[in-house]
């Protein structure tokens, strides 16, 4: 059984890197992010399926999955969420305390399977102001170890520092 290995820099406490966060004004459209590959274990797939209450047999039942159009166990399509959070640096704006998710678009290629090593290329493709709020839009191009496209994800966040006086000023 393969043991999951999160990148060493991964940090659960988003406050720990809050002061290193850049403000929306400092982000430049076109900037690319330093991501790390992430190997997806069967345990992560099933933890994710349980965390989203999605008990499709193709994520859990090897025999059912084998006889399906997929020919074996797969991950739920939105498994790209933990993949991206594992891949991004801890001070990336996607981890800014208080950032709000306004919506996302995912286009899928091949499914993620247990043991796949997933690579994520990411860049900021837009930022804009709307009704007094500051939005970011990034593209995540996600591939597996065979360079097959897993997902093209376009989406962003409403960035707002909240709570901490110093960060609000930023």
């Amino acid at each position: 059984m393969v043991q999951e290995k999160l990148p060493e820099r991964f940090e659960k406490n988003f406050f720990k890197y809050e002061e290193k966060q850049r403000s929306w004004d400092d982000l430049e459209v076109g900037e690319v992010y330093n991501t790390e590959p992430f190997t997806v274990t069967l345990e992560r797939i099933q933890l994710y399926a349980e965390g989203t209450e999605d008990y499709n047999p193709f994520y859990f039942d090897e025999e059912a999955a084998k006889n399906s159009q997929f020919g074996g166990l797969i991950a739920p399509p939105t498994i790209v969420v933990p993949i991206v959070f594992a891949s991004l640096p801890p001070d990336h704006w996607a981890k800014m305390p208080g950032a709000i998710n306004p919506g996302q678009r995912l286009e899928f290629g091949v499914p993620v399977r247990p043991g796949d090593t997933i690579y994520c290329q990411s860049k900021l493709i837009d930022k804009y102001l709307k009704r007094g709020k500051k939005y970011t839009v990034a593209e995540f191009f996600i591939t597996n170890q065979k360079q097959e496209m897993v997902c093209r994800w376009i989406g962003g966040l409403v960035l707002q520092f909240q709570g901490n006086e110093e960060m609000i000023k930023k």
């Binding site: 399509p77 208080g98 919506g103 286009e107």
Partner: protein, 146 residues
């Protein structure tokens, strides 16, 4: 194995069976562990109270958790029938909070015939809370190879 979906037999306007989810802080915490998204807006009730997050001072569920529910109603239909999820899009219109009951809906709104086993349908997706407020809207495309 369930019956295969056949593109020609899928009717515009067909509504998938709706699905409901009850949201609790425990479930949001579990989703944070599963998705590796530990933003305090989801998992730190004290901080949310302190900053009066979104005017109510409670945590909110992950938008991607809502999107995963929107995707699940589609894959529960498409996967057993031999289909593939081609795309999934969601906009989050209103916060989902602990205690909410969220019901997800999906309806076939477009059919795109192709001759190379890549015919696909587009489904309109929406979800509402217990007060009938739309918390999310979106679309999914499903390839039907048969």
């Amino acid at each position: 194995m369930s019956e295969k979906l056949e593109f020609d037999k899928i009717e515009l306007g067909y509504e998938l069976p709706s699905q409901s989810k009850h949201i609790t802080q425990e479930k949001i915490n579990k989703n944070a562990e599963a998705s590796l998204d530990f933003n305090p807006i989801h998992i730190d009730p004290e901080w949310c109270k302190k900053i009066n997050l979104l005017g109510k001072g409670t945590t909110i569920a992950h938008g991607m958790m809502t999107l995963s529910f929107m995707g699940k109603i589609v894959t529960d239909w498409a996967y057993p029938g031999g289909g593939f999820l081609k795309s999934l899009e969601g906009k989050f219109l209103y916060p989902v909070r602990p205690g909410d009951d969220i019901t997800n809906y999906a309806q076939v709104i477009e059919k795109h015939p192709r001759s190379d086993r890549t015919s696909f349908v587009v489904l309109e997706l929406w979800c509402e809370n217990q007060d009938g407020v739309k918390v999310g809207v979106g679309e999914a495309a499903v390839t039907i190879p048969e």
